[in-house]
Each structure stands twice: as structure tokens, then as C-alpha cells.
Amino acid sequence: MNPIAIGVFIVIALLTLGSGIMVVTVRNIIHSALWLIASFIGVAALYLLMEAEFLAVVQILVYAGAVSILVLFAIMLTRQVTGEGVRVVFERWWVALLIALGLFGVIVPTLWKHGATWEEAAKLAQVGPAPVEGAANSLQVATATEIGRSFMGEYLLPFEVVSVLLLMALIGAVVIAYEERTRRRRVLTLAEELALKKRGIVEPRDAEGAVVPREAEAAVILLDSEQA
């Protein structure tokens, strides 16, 4: 490995780790989410350094562009936690520690096992441009083609299981959202309210002046779906 690459690696790794530490130590939860985005982008840069362009781009597309936005949305929609001064350490901190250690225990043996392969590949790369097939085998280059082939070949079953899981999550979200919608009362436009007033129908209100919700709403939605 040439010294410039090592230097770049150290800088990126330190930035990634630093922003990772900031995620768990910063007290403002929005700032913590923003630091999380920074560490995602750092990981993408590491992928790029390993010449896994496809993985790097997908990391930015999925994690930095979508997951982090989801996190931000979740934070902003639950208003209580947006304020500052959120506690960083909770009573059950040891559970988190256990999980982190367990994950570390999975990752390190994997690295240990594949380290030899990678060193071999690095030696091959130093010798010169290897024939494409051989390079792909020894380097385990994570190009889109390679990933696609292994999804559809070697790892077909895990891939399908994950697909089914995602599909279930999708259907679950639709079901929940649909139920929410049937309970909600439709908001009338001004013109509709005026038309109703002209016909002498006044919306029923309770003592405080709020509109009383009705059960007839479900019937309207039924009617809607029948017409469609």
C-alpha cells in the first residue's frame, strides 16, 4: 500500500470515528443526527478508498440521503426531545455496551479471517494489472455486477428472506397508514362549508366550539372507494 493512501485512510478513519463519537456525546439531538450523517459520509469515503465505487455510492444514496433524513424526521415529529440538555448516559447503559462488544466480537474475527486474502490481493495489485477475471476473484471487488451475481447465486436464500422481510414491513406500513386515514375526518373546503350552510346544515360543535367528529366518515370513504 502506498504511503499517500495510508495517510488518506488515517485522516478519513479519524474523521469518521470522531464524528461517530460526537453522535453519542453531543447533547443536542439534532446535532447528533447531523454528526451521524458526517460519519456515514466518512464510511462512504472509506469504501471509495477501497475502490468499491458502487458500495460507496449506495452508502451515500441510502444512508446519508435517506436513512438519516428519516432519523431527522422522526426527531422533529416527536417534539419533546428536540430541546437541549438530553441526558447522554441512561441506567441501562451496560446493555448498549454488551451489544457493542458483541458486534465488535463478530467483526474482528471476520477481518482476521479475510485479512490474508486482502494482503494477497494487494500484492497482486502491486505486481501490475492482473487479468480481469483473476483480479475479480482474488480482490473480491464489490462492483455492481459481482454483488448482483452473488445475490442471485451464492446468497440467493438470504437475499430472498430479506426481500420478504422488507415486503412485510412495506405492507405493514400501508395497513397502519390506511387505518389512520379511515379514522380521520375529512377537512371541508370553504366552498363546501358555504354550500352546506346554504342548505341549512350546520356542523355540530361541542361546548368549546370544536367540531364533533362523526362515524359517518367511514361511509364516505367506502363511497369513495366504490366510485374509484
Partner: protein, 413 residues
């Protein structure tokens, strides 16, 4: 470029460094000059559409107007709200501009490719997705309700239109067999440089869908809901002034420029055109650059035309347009693209089939025949899908425009 410098006698690392610096400078200068031209071009053309003259006093035909505006914004006061999150407020425009400039790294200028990334197509979309972070930061960091509303609207819009945008590209990737923009441009060089994807039924539908989704990604009218000035002042930009506002403005126009460039590259053949290969060398490169710029600015003219004609959508219309109109059509388009690929080059995609049935003859007659079958089949699928979905959408729109008395009575009596 680096090779040429090494031949001149520079050390290899130095020549790589110099070449990179030259490329980066060209990208930055090209992007910002393009943006300045774009603002003038948009204002002049929309003025003529609205029966007025537009900026025509500074320089010949008002061409220097963008420079005077740049000086004006730079000398304006740069105010930050007292209770704003200062750092986030400051970083938001930086993130936006950074994401936009990143996407310029892979955009080919005619036949010149700054960086030929293997996943270049995805890279452009990914950098576009980073805009949502900047938007969120601007909305939240301003500590202003209108800004937050605008930011939320913008992010919701960006992440829902990203899906049809990404999936509209899949047919192009299928037809090319690669995600590199260079390969995509090369693949459209048949028929004397006129084998553009937009001339095939798959490409035509893909072009329309991708361009529409990109309009929403670039916050152009009719999708400019995040900064709808009559509803929420200026959306996430409400609390920005002076240079920071100018940076937002710059990144907005640069991303619109990038959208035009990418659409021209993906569907309109990039720098391909009649005569480029015949000329060859530097002259051919220049001709391809001219073709490319002409195509891109024609696309931008379409954007301006849309801005002058179509009124802004409501938020619910925006969402149902993405999910109920664009997404089904995009899926159908992927289906017909796979038919297209299967008919035209199953020998390349599936060697197994060649083993079983023998290689398809490369004789011209069979190729033309297969092309004709592919065009008819994909045209039928796409036209049928468009007609069906248009019908369904029209019915839906009419239902939402007029509420019948019965519905009112049922809902409230």
C-alpha cells in the same frame, strides 16, 4: 490528461496532481459561468413569454446582468437570526453547494469526461439526495416556522421523487449494460451518431418520466412547493440573505444545469451527433461539446416554458402524482426495457440461451426484423400503460375537484 503531462517530463504524482487541479478548476468555472448564463437566459426568455423585455440594460442585451447581481448580493448585509442555530445555519448553504458541485465531477462535457466512475449514474442521484440534508439544516437552523415548514416540504418532495427518478434510469442501464456515463454515451452512437435512446419507445417514456421527476428534484415550477412564496414566504430560504442566499441560488441553478446535462447525456446521446466521428480529434471534440450544450440548453428552455405555463401543484397533488402516476409508469417502462434487451441482444446478456438456441444471426435483415419487433412490442406496452394511467388519473382528478351533494350529505348529516 495526466499521461500527456508525464510525457512532458513531470513526475507521475505531480502530473496527476496538476491534471486534477486543472479539471477541478474547469468544472468549478464551467459550472458557475453556466449558472450565470442560465439566470440571464431564463429571465430573458420568460420575459418574452410574458410579453415584456426582461433585463437588457447591463452590457449587450443585458448579458452582464448576473455580474451586477453578484456584486449586489455580496455587498448586502448577511444577517443571522438571534435565536438561530448559528453553525447549522451557516453550514446549510455550504452542504447544498457542495452536493451540487460533486455531481459535476462525473458529467461529461461532450466527449470529455472529468472522472469516469463505474457507478456514475447512481453517483449523480446520490449527490442530488444530499440536497435534502442541506434543506433540512436550513429549515431547522433558521429557527423560523416558515423555514421549517419549507424544509419539511422540500425533504418530503425530494425523497419521494428520488424513487421514480432512480427507477427511470434503470431502462437506460439495462439497454447499455453499464452504469458508466461514458459507456452510455458510446452506446448511443449508432446510426451516424443519431442512435439516441429517446428515439426508442422505452427511451421516450423514460426521458419524459426522468425529466419530470428531475424537475421536482430541482424544485422547478410546477414543483416549487418548498419555496412557494405565496404560501410560506421563501420556504427554507426565508432567513437567508446576502452571500448565503446567493450560495443557495447558485446551487439551485447549478443543479438545474446538472439535470439538463444528465438528461441530455442519458437520453439525447450526450455529445453524439452527425459529423462528430467523421471529424474526429479536437475538432470532433469541439463539435460534440457544441451539440451537448445545444441539447442541454434546449432542455432548459423546456423548463422555462413549463415555468411560464403550468401553475404550482398542491402538496397532496404532488405526492399522488409521484406515487400514482410516475411510479407505475416507471415500473412498466422497466418491463418493456427488459423485453427490448431480450429481443435485441439476448446473446450478450444470457450466454446460456445462445448455447441452447445458437447465436442470433448478425445479418442485417434479422437485426432489422428484431428491431422492428422490439419497437412494436415496447410501443404497445408503453402506450397502453400511459393511456390506462391517464384515464385513471383523470377520473381521480375530477372526483377531487368536485364534491357531489350526496357526498356532503353523507359526510355531515
Amino acid at each position: 490528461m495526466a499521461d500527456a503531462l508525464t510525457q512532458l517530463g513531470f513526475a507521475s504524482w505531480l502530473s496527476v496532481l496538476i491534471a486534477s487541479i486543472i479539471k477541478v478548476t474547469l468544472i468549478l468555472v464551467g459550472g458557475s459561468v453556466g449558472m450565470m448564463f442560465l439566470t440571464w437566459y431564463e429571465r430573458r426568455s420568460i420575459s418574452y413569454m410574458q410579453d415584456r423585455r426582461g433585463p437588457n440594460r447591463v452590457g449587450p442585451q443585458g448579458l452582464l446582468q448576473p455580474i451586477s447581481e453578484a456584486i449586489k448580493t455580496m455587498t448586502k448585509e448577511d444577517a443571522t437570526p438571534r435565536d438561530a442555530d448559528k453553525i447549522v445555519h451557516f453550514l446549510a448553504p455550504v452542504v447544498m453547494l457542495g452536493a451540487t458541485v460533486l455531481s459535476f465531477a462525473v458529467i461529461p462535457w461532450g466527449r470529455m469526461f472529468p472522472v469516469d466512475l463505474n457507478a456514475a449514474v447512481l453517483f449523480v442521484i446520490a449527490t442530488g439526495g444530499l440536497h435534502s440534508i442541506g434543506m433540512m439544516m436550513a429549515g431547522w437552523g433558521s429557527n423560523n416556522k416558515f423555514a421549517l415548514l419549507g424544509g419539511m416540504r422540500g425533504v418530503a418532495q425530494l425523497i419521494s421523487y428520488e424513487i421514480p427518478q432512480v427507477m427511470a434510469i434503470i431502462p437506460v442501464v439495462l439497454m447499455t449494460g453499464s452504469m458508466s456515463l461514458q459507456k452510455i454515451v458510446e452506446a448511443q452512437n449508432d446510426f451516424a451518431g443519431l442512435g439516441w435512446y429517446v428515439f426508442s419507445p422505452v427511451g421516450l417514456l423514460g426521458f419524459a418520466l426522468f425529466f419530470t421527476a428531475s424537475l421536482a428534484e430541482g424544485e422547478r415550477t410546477p414543483f416549487d412547493i418548498p419555496e412557494a412564496d405565496s404560501e410560506i414566504i421563501a420556504g427554507y430560504m426565508t432567513e437567508y440573505s446576502g452571500m448565503k442566499f446567493a450560495v443557495f441560488y447558485l446551487s439551485n441553478y447549478m443543479s438545474n444545469l446538472a439535470v439538463c446535462f444528465i438528461t441530455a447525456t442519458l437520453y439525447l446521446g450526450g455529445g453524439n451527433g452527425p459529423g462528430v466521428d467523421a471529424l474526429g480529434g479536437i475538432a470532433g471534440g469541439l463539435l460534440s461539446l457544441i451539440y451537448f450544450l445545444l441539447k442541454s440548453f434546449a432542455l432548459f428552455f423546456v423548463m422555462v416554458l413549463i415555468r411560464a405555463t403550468v401553475p404550482r401543484l398542491r402538496v397532496d397533488q404532488l405526492m399522488s402524482f409521484a406515487w400514482k402516476f410516475l411510479l407505475p409508469l416507471v415500473l412498466v417502462n422497466i418491463l418493456s426495457a427488459s423485453f427490448w434487451v431480450a429481443l435485441l441482444r439476448w446473446d450478450q446478456q444470457w450466454p446460456k440461451l445462445t448455447e441452447w438456441f445458437g447465436a442470433p444471426s448478425t445479418a442485417d435483415a434479422t437485426n432489422w426484423g428484431r428491431l422492428a419487433i422490439a419497437i412494436v412490442l415496447t410501443l404497445l406496452i408503453n402506450a397502453g400503460a400511459v393511456a390506462l394511467i391517464m384515464r385513471l388519473t383523470n377520473r381521480n382528478v375530477q372526483k377531487h375537484l368536485y364534491t357531489t351533494d350526496e357526498e356532503l350529505a353523507l359526510g355531515l348529516s
